[in-house]
Amino acid sequence: MERLPWLRRGFAPVLCVLLVLLAQVADSYTQYIVNLALIYVVIGVGLNFLLGYAGQFAFAHAALMGIGAYTTALLTSRLYWSFWLCLPLSGVVAAALGALGALPAMRMKRVYLALVTLAFAQLVVWVLVNWNVVTLGTDGVDVPAPMLFGWRVKGDTSVFYVVLPCTALMYWLAKRILESRIGRAFVTIRENEIVARCNGINVARTKTVVFALSAFYAGIGGSLYALTLGFIVPDAFGLSQLVLHFSIVVLGGLLSLSGAAIGAVVLTALPELLRDLQALQEIIYGLVLMVVILVMPQGIAGLLKRWGVLPREVLARNWRALARETP
């Protein structure tokens, strides 16, 4: 079934090397797009935990990304905290707030969870706009370039060397989490809470974990986003940001880790490729999404898996070794 096993083993390192080579020759704009794509890999993987694996229809991901971005931007620019402290802290702050999403998810029907999280998302943007004293409102916040061992992380190429290892680490962590009993518990509560409970899975705790985890990724993504843009405004984390996040996960493939990455790359690159067709851009964008949802519900990753280009994803570490043992 797997046609190109060598491709699988070498894929991630080769991709990283290619990106580093690209960084040597890319102009600033191309580099900026690559950085954005890498950040959206983190964002997409984070949302896929919640929406894809655990099947929770929550709409706070863009707002949580905003919280991560503002945590970094405000603490570095106004209190002069180190970016290297703010990066993980942004993830933690977002995770703490995101975990609250598990409360409505435990006692309410799906549609209410959607409404409550949407209201939360609106509230966050409202606070960012109106709490001028702290957030500087619609004027936006400048994000100072961080220092690393006396080297100033300024310019898209420098930022790239921060973003790439972060994305690689977050992706690897996601894979490790999904291939453990935690990842299987996510999918089990999505499919059948009764089965989960009857097998000793604490549904409330699992939901709390997945909401926090997903938000942690949004927060880290937001922090890196602030670094990449160098300047952020509240509007960036509104409805269109949320639509982009959902599109990434759906186009790439729900329940697929590589899918979220593919979706992120395609949806960051696509608008840029279509830039010359400004008028048509939104239409093409919308059409692509509709076609994907209708024709390939498993997203691009599902299609590539069917063709044997992408490997299967089994949520059990070591399963390939088992496959070799048992004919």
């Binding site: 962590l173 490790r176 989490i177 453990s180 009993r181 935690i182 299987r184 518990a185 999918v187 089990t188 499919e191 059948n192 009764i194 089965v195 989960a196 409970r197 009857c198 097998n199 000793g200 899975i201 604490n202 549904v203 329940l255 089994v314 949520l315 059990a316 570490r317 070591n318 399963w319 088992l322 496959a323 048992t326 004919p327």
Partner: protein
């Protein structure tokens, strides 16, 4: 004499005005296969749901393996060592057999989450042990070759076995089976019969078996309990129960009235 493994007293479940399970008491000693029979709607599945903690229920006592379960949520009861299957097979369709059965090992994997995720030495011991257990149990059930197949590609009988595998892979003390023979061919029912005996005799398991295929229940059970309209109407050896006039009436309808 040893205390029974499961000791349920006056378990009662109400759905609005309907009393689906009406003060049913049941005590099962270790290593017994207990049949639970009764006509459609008698309350057998609801009784299972009450014992597993899925429906709110009343009761004077619910002791399992020496512990009080009455107020514990379902996942804690499962963790304490009671596992079950469902009347209609409940598997995760996107999962392979391996992943589905590993769900049954959820509480059996004691790895430190951080060590496991970061791949620290020994961090995967529980996970790898669980995978071994899955392979073993699938071999035991004769479906070893399905390990990496998606469950929606399996035959119905294979799916039933996967569900049983998930229930027994963690070696629970009590196994509750809700009509495991439904939809199986006579050949498969024979295999099931042999399997349940091995679980009791070799694994030391206690089994509570709801089944409509009476030939299977009466042949395999050490004792049989009969429900009708939520009430327990008889309990005894298979022969006693089969001869009980109240049981005959329940099954054949009220012909004598």
């Amino acid at each position: 004499m040893n205390a029974p493994l499961l000791d349920a007293r006056d378990v009662t479940v109400r759905f609005g005005g309907l009393i689906a399970v009406d003060a049913v008491s049941l005590a099962i000693p270790e290593r017994e296969i207990r049949g639970l029979i009764g006509p459609n709607g008698a309350g057998k599945t609801t009784f299972f749901n009450a014992i597993s903690g899925l429906v709110p229920h009343g009761g004077a006592a619910l002791r399992f393996d020496g512990r009080d379960m009455l107020h514990l949520p379902a996942h804690r009861r499962a963790a304490a060592g009671m596992r079950r299957t469902f009347q209609s097979v409940q598997l995760v369709p996107q999962f392979t057999v391996l992943e589905n059965v590993l769900v049954g090992m959820h509480t059996g994997i004691a790895d430190n989450p951080a060590a496991s995720v970061l791949g620290l030495p020994g961090g995967n011991r529980g996970e790898l042990g669980a995978q071994r257990a899955v392979i073993e149990v699938l071999e035991f059930l004769g479906i070893g070759e399905t390990l990496l197949q998606r469950v929606n590609q399996l035959t119905f009988a294979q799916q039933r076995y996967v569900e049983i595998a998930r229930a027994i892979v963690g070696r629970p003390k009590l196994l509750m089976l809700d009509e495991p023979a439904a939809g199986l061919s006579p050949g498969d029912v024979k295999m099931l019969d042999a399997l349940l005996r091995r679980l009791r005799d070799e694994w030391g398991m206690t089994i509570l078996l709801v089944e409509h295929v009476l030939s299977l229940v009466l042949e395999i059970s050490d004792r049989v309990t009969v429900l009708d309209n939520g009430r327990m109407i008889a309990e005894g050896s298979p022969a006693e129960v089969a001869d009980d006039p109240a049981v005959k009436t329940a099954y054949l309808g009220n012909e004598n009235v």
